[in-house]
Amino acid sequence: MLKLLKNLIKEPMFVIGVFLFLTTVFAGLLGPSLYTPQPRSEFGYEAPLAPRGIEVDLSKNTITHWVVHRGDTLYAKETIKKDSLGNMLNNTALAKYWIGTDNLGQDYVALLLRGLQNSLYVGLLAGVIATTIGTLVGLFAGFKGGIIDDILNMFTNLFIVIPSFVVLVLVSTSFPQGRSLTLIAVLIGFTTWPWTARSVRAQAASLRGRDHISLARINGASNLQIIFKHILPYLASYVFMVFIMQVASGILSESAISMIGLGPLGEGATSLGVILNTAKNQSAITDGLWWGIFPAAIVITVIVFALYLLNNSMEGVFNPRLRK
């Protein structure tokens, strides 16, 4: 185990992946409690870098900055008074928010941290559920073989054929009152397990007939020993890598259904996807309010990228034959 870790640390891709992933995890776990959000702005969609309009009134020494929203309506407007030398007197908006605010004037940094936490939660839970179901079904099918294998395989294929996204959308719409993060995670977990089942089944089936299992048996190893010493090491890397992929795809699935407005609903259920959905609904995209879309999108990309890096780097280390 220690040797494995040593080999992993030698892998630069792994180190970068772990660093990125741990950073996001820490930000998600500790961020919401460590970061004190700025008080709510009365003006939505503020951002330090991209005011959509500036009105300078030299007679009153004021600069008014606003964001155009929905046609011609002024959505956000804030007046900054400046003294005769041009220094800001009443800087309420421009330096206060790192990224800006959403349409309701909430601090985006706080929202992103909360969203990150919730997205990670959904991804991990969905990943655990999908990996557990998939591994159990796959192991059972692969080891038992015969008719049980056929039945489970048929069942798995059935789930693969039904597009999981459609199921996700349909089930989500049937909970119009409230959808907790857990519900969404469970839904994702229950619709994405078949691929895990397939890959694990294939592995298990190929292991079943291997001579090293027979040898372990005539060495007097118990079933548990065979599972933990002679099968799990061969499968662990697959299961773990599949788990990482499931977490990544869980996060992406959550963002996707949230984006079309079928994600978690209710107080505190702000996921990264929900942030994107809100921004989209408030036409942040058409109005070019980039800070409504990009930060959340970047955070999603970073997590998924980190997970893919981890997955890729582990491939070479877990399979001793590929070791350099």
Binding site: G146, I147, R210, D211, H212, S214, L215, A216, R217, I218, N219, G220, A221, K229, H230, P233, Y234, P320, R321
Partner: protein, 260 residues
Amino acid sequence: MPSNIIFSAKDISKFFGHGKKRICAVNNVSFDIADGEIVSIVGGSGCGKSVLAKIMLGLYSPDSGSFLYKGKPITNTRNHWNEVQSVFQDPFGCFNQFFSIRSQLKDAFGILKEKPSKQNIEKRVDEALLAVNVKPLDIEGKYPFELSGGQMQRMLLARIFALKPKVLIADEPTSMVDACVRANILDYLMKLKEELGMTIVFVTHDIGLAYYVSDRIFIMHEAKIVEAGKPEDVTQNPQSPHTVRLLEDIPDINREWIKK
């Protein structure tokens, strides 16, 4: 039935797959193997000889017919393996690649009912390694994927030399070692046989090897034993056309081997 019969097979069959894909690997085979005998099962690839070996080992149970070890069916496999051990065919697939060779050789003692002490295990492993012409230091800390096919095969044999079972089922035990090492190993195996009164079942496609070491030869073809008898009878006076083929196909330096 005499009491010194080790294996007794009566009309055993073994099938794989189901439905249309059902394949018969062993078809109505009957034989007896006596205590202390060396029997070779000879046949071409895919004739079912390895499956027969696994039935003797208790890893497969026959789908029909009765298979007895010392007059009783194999029910407790742990007891069975305490006495009956095997060298498997494919040395590459036989060891768990996540553990060192030595630790796996030591693991083999797990099947013995009376476990030797730790020092004794180390000593027996060292002795067994020397018996197969491998210096114990050479494989110290090595993993299975770091060894060649021949070395791995010797490790499998070392396992047997360490365990000293009463019955050995050797499935192509020397297919990957050079002729010199093969002679050494067979020599040691024979010594061990004399010492322990071991019963050995060789599974091989090499009728030449079978001729030199066996008391009896079974010729297998397409899941059936087509001929059985003393090596002299089988080789000098073959009854089955399949035996004739096997004999003809032995490469001979003075004879054109591959017919053009």
